[in-house]
């Protein structure tokens, strides 16, 4: 196992939470009910907190005198390692909550495994984060069930969100050389091994939500390797990184 691979692995964790946290924070003050505003802000806050830990550790491992903020605010699109699903735009509350659920079910399984990592720092961050992910998953699953089962309109909107997002789920379970190295040294699970737990949870919830899982398992990929992100990430970065880019070196 080399440091470059560990660095890539940590970027994958931290970029997922950063990009999804940012997307959810776009909801501020505009959710369908006050309770949802609070819950979305809370989830975004947890994810940004996890980002600070993952990217903080990534920066140390890299040893190039960069901070977590430098990694978040000064990398361009091709250096981001998040899965494509989390950079998808919010579209509406249905898409937002379906994306959250599909991710939470994965995140929960991933963090549970990571809490047993041979790297004590990763185990520690995961143990703290998995408590938050448990709450996120309970809440997003409950909401998916309620809206899938609710009215004809809410059912149709949730089915539409599932159909659109399903092709972005497969990337979560893709493996490459970095993953093989992490798995061999007991640092992180091979993503493919998380699929069963995810499938079980997702099928159970979607069935209670009376939603149909698309039959086609085609998967878009290119986010976690950085090979090909969607067009959406660049626009997100123009906002997220604007102050740091416009006033280089300023302390905020």
């Amino acid at each position: 196992m080399d440091n470059a691979s560990l660095f890539q692995c940590l970027l994958r964790f931290g970029d997922n939470t950063l990009v999804l946290g940012h997307r959810i924070s776009e909801w501020c003050g505009k959710a369908p009910a006050l309770e949802e505003d609070i819950a979305l802000a809370n989830t975004a806050l947890d994810l940004i907190g996890q980002t600070q830990m993952w990217l903080g550790y990534a920066a140390e491992v890299e040893g190039a005198d960069r901070s977590a903020d430098d990694l978040a605010m000064l990398r361009d699109v091709w250096d981001f390692r998040n899965i494509l699903m989390v950079e998808r735009p919010n579209i509406d509350f249905g898409h937002t909550i379906m994306r959250q659920f599909l991710f939470d079910a994965y995140h929960h399984a991933q963090l549970t495994a990571l809490s047993r990592s041979s790297d004590p720092r990763i185990a520690e961050i995961a143990a703290k984060s998995v408590k938050e992910a448990t709450y996120h998953l309970d809440r997003s699953a409950e909401t998916v069930i309620a809206l899938g089962d609710g009215t004809d309109v809410s059912h149709a909107k949730m089915q539409n969100a599932l159909d659109l997002l399903w092709p972005y789920a497969g990337e979560m379970f893709e493996s490459d050389d970095v993953d093989a190295q992490m798995a061999a040294s007991g640092i992180a699970p091979d993503p493919a091994t998380l699929r069963d737990a995810w499938d079980l949870r997702v099928r159970d919830t979607l069935s209670l939500a009376t939603l149909n899982i698309p039959e086609d398992n085609f998967a878009h990929k290119g986010g976690r390797t950085g090979a090909r992100h969607t067009e959406h990430l660049g626009h997100m970065l123009t906002q997220m990184q604007w102050l740091q880019r416009a006033y280089p070196g300023a302390v905020w």
Binding site: H22, G29, K30, P32, A68, D92, A146, S154, L243, W252
Partner: protein, 330 residues
Amino acid sequence: MYAQMIQSTGKGVKSLDEMDPTERAFQERIDAGGKIEPKDWMPAGYRKNLIRQIGQHAHSEIIGQLPEGNWITRAPTLERKAILLAKVQDEAGHGLYLYCAAETLGITRDEMFEALNEGRMKYSSIFNYPTLTWADMGAVGWLVDGAAIMNQVPLQRTSYGPYARAMVRICKEESFHQRQGFDIMMKMCAGSEAQKRMAQDALNRFWYPSLMMFGPSDAESVHSAQSMAWKIKMNTNDELRQKFVDQTVPQAEYLGLTVPDETIKWNDEKGGYDFAEPDWTEFYDVLAGNGPCNHDRLETRKQAWDDGAWVREGMLAHAAKKRTAKVAAE
């Protein structure tokens, strides 16, 4: 405190001798520092006045998320983004306590939302000003939350129990927000020339709108006299504005910023600063809907409410199905 120009009965304060025994007992309880609880008898005017005031305060918390939400996606560091998210989350929470407090008076949250969306209920004038640079996140915390605290601290002793208790929780978080705002200002003022310029510009734009938050002088107002007799309002607008100026001017000096009022001067005799009144014409314009952001703020809320209708309906339908299934199973 985000309530301005709250109307009371408009009839002036009755003396104890003019009251019937029930009302007299009510007033004597307030005079003795007692609390009124939701199931207690209360004059219709007291109830109406409180709904207006608590509702306006709650709406201000909700609309107040928007000028700050405007910068969450552009926060300069992860820590600043997290702090701002936590703050906005607190504000939504304050809105929730306050709507709950108002609901104990016999109005629903949805009714209040509809009144807000239709312009029948107001929110504080301050949130109709734009947040244009990152320094505005500092200025809003420092000045706007600072002004809010001036009024909210005494309201922890207000006569209506649920309102007073909500205010206790809110005050703790607000003073934290104010410190965070001041911390942003300190960083900006110790930073580059561009950051210092942003900080001064933010103070220039937010100084007078912050003074307006207290509302025009109400020393002669019959509405305020009644609210004060009922201990719904604890101080006059002028008292609170003076206190705010006295606290804020030395803070601005500490930051190396100039308060945009050339007339400001310490007055030994009164033990406070003399300062210029804000432009009250502008204040009334903002209240009438002509502030820089009135249209956009309200449209954003209406859009959120309309776009969210299918979600609320879906949730309700699911809850109803669950209840039916439970009854069938029993």
